[in-house]
């Protein structure tokens, strides 16, 4: 069991049966009164955030979460299939659970699948992924219109801003935390 004084940003706790991650934390003690622990918590299953204030006598249970490295296989409708490369065990997550990760997910990508009570609830991608550009306006050399980026489409269908010299067929590195262009890669 955890005490309120153990609460901190990043801690994962069980609340009303669901796993939550503390995304914002503030210790407060108004006017020599009792200690209060103000938290913003994100439900790790549905992604909803909620604000809660706890007192020092409250007790918490750590959310029992497990991570496993798995390979992305394919999607079918709203189901995304993954495989454990050691045991060949397969499972699927819904489009809702994959959320914006769908923008960077390509076949055979190694991802980390998060399990709560044995069921997959979320995935974590590598921070940087390389994606092929499938659509980009041609680069007009000497273009002095002043725009330093242009929209390009990558193989997942995701559209992002990239420098004007990026062309169809290039491979670019994207930061999956921000969705932003990092650099052009040669491979």
């Amino acid at each position: 069991m955890l005490n309120a004084s153990d609460l901190r940003k990043g801690l994962k706790i069980l609340l009303d049966g669901d796993p939550y991650i503390i995304t914002r934390f503030e210790f407060s003690k108004p006017g020599k009164g009792q200690s209060l622990y103000k938290c913003r918590l994100r439900n790790m299953i549905n992604g909803n955030s909620t604000d809660r204030t706890f007192r020092s006598n409250e007790k918490f249970e750590k959310a029992s979460l497990e991570e496993r490295s798995m390979q992305y296989l394919y999607s079918q409708g709203d189901e995304f299939h993954f495989m454990d490369v050691n045991t060949y065990e397969q499972l699927s997550l819904t489009r809702e659970q994959i959320a914006e990760n769908v923008n960077y997910l390509i076949d055979n990508m190694e991802v980390t699948v998060l399990f709560f009570n044995g069921s997959p609830i979320d995935i974590t991608l590598p921070i940087f992924v390389n994606l092929a550009v499938t659509q980009a306006d041609p680069w007009v050399k000497g273009d002095t219109s002043g725009t330093d980026t242009k929209p390009v489409t990558v193989e997942t269908g995701y559209v992002l801003q990239a420098p004007p010299f990026i062309e169809e067929g290039d491979r670019i590195q994207v930061d999956t935390r921000t969705g932003e262009y990092i650099t052009r890669v040669k491979d």
Binding site: F27, S28, P30, K32, G33, S35, L36, T53, S56
Partner: protein, 301 residues
């Protein structure tokens, strides 16, 4: 570790504080940090050191000096409180306390405002600080709101209903405090429910209220002051009550501070205040957390 700039700024704030009190004929006192007995306080848990306690505040010793005839006293010292850690809390922090005979809490509010403005002026005159230091207006008086007015203005219920429902602190933190001391104008909150001030005098014309105030600046709770309770009989009752409350939370209350109670017989009418000095440095520098303004935080030691 603190940055070079913050260390210099911190030293400048300390100097400006000492300058203020020297100019007003206050005597600097340094009372012992290791004490055999503390004022029992329900929500403050002390550290023990052998058979002794590390002080949670210099209050009792300062009042004994006051009772001995020293009419204007101030102290800058570390205080220790178990379990307090956050963006504005450290288990060891620097406190500024000052006491003055012959005045009440309203006059002390004025003096507190003068101190904060004087430190801001002093800092603004130095290259180390952005101008104006403290980011509040020096040309208008601080806002003054009674606790009842603040709850009426910002909260879903009045303070007595919140106390009765056992959610006073939550309402204070979630609904009232976010509005205090904003827009470049610090706020004094005053006239607290009597149950929330164990060492403060009650208002004679309204005994349900204590002559206590707190200062908020930019969302930071900066200081807590009051007219001192000088009645040893009532003070003993309040200590007994606090000890009962400490017992009910499963902690062992320390003994009653008998020497302090004995000294109360000689204590003049006075007002006293505790101000978080690290937080004053935060206010003057615009630091976002207390971590930025102390030399080391506990996690670095």
């Amino acid at each position: 570790m603190i940055s070079g700039l913050r260390l210099r700024q911190r030293a400048a704030v300390f100097r400006a504080v000492r300058l203020f009190f020297e100019e007003r004929d206050y005597l600097e006192a340094d009372t012992p940090l290791l004490l055999p007995v503390l004022a029992p306080e329900r929500w403050i848990e002390p550290f023990t050191a052998g058979d002794l306690f590390l002080q949670t505040s210099p209050e009792l010793c300062m009042k004994r000096l006051l009772a001995a005839g020293h009419a204007r006293l101030y102290q800058i010292c570390p205080c220790f409180r178990k379990g307090e850690r956050g963006g504005r809390h450290l288990p060891e922090f620097s406190m500024l306390e000052w006491y003055r005979a012959g005045i009440d809490y309203l006059a002390l509010m004025d003096e507190c405002e003068e101190l904060v403005k004087s430190v801001a002026l002093e800092c603004s005159a130095r290259k180390l600080f952005a101008k104006p230091a403290g980011c509040f207006r020096l040309d208008i008086p601080f806002e003054r709101l009674t606790v009842a007015e603040a709850f009426g203005k910002y909260a879903r219920c009045d303070e007595n209903a919140a106390l009765a429902a056992g959610c006073y602190e939550e309402v204070m933190v979630e609904e009232v405090e976010p509005h205090l001391g904003k827009g470049g104008r610090p706020t004094f909150l005053y006239d607290y429910p009597a149950g929330l001030a164990s060492l403060a005098r009650r208002k004679s014309e309204e005994p349900a209220l204590a002559e206590r105030f707190e200062l908020y600046a930019d969302g930071i709770e900066l200081a807590n002051g009051f007219s001192e309770l000088t009645d040893p009989v009532e003070q003993r009752c309040r200590f007994e009550e606090e000890r009962r409350l400490i017992l009910s939370t499963g902690r062992e209350p320390g003994p009653i501070p008998e020497r302090f109670l004995a000294a109360l017989h000689d204590m003049p009418e006075a007002a006293g205040i505790a101000l978080g000095l690290d937080r004053l440095v935060m206010l003057m520098t615009g630091a976002a957390t207390i971590d930025e303004v102390v030399c080391f935080v506990p996690e670095e030691l």
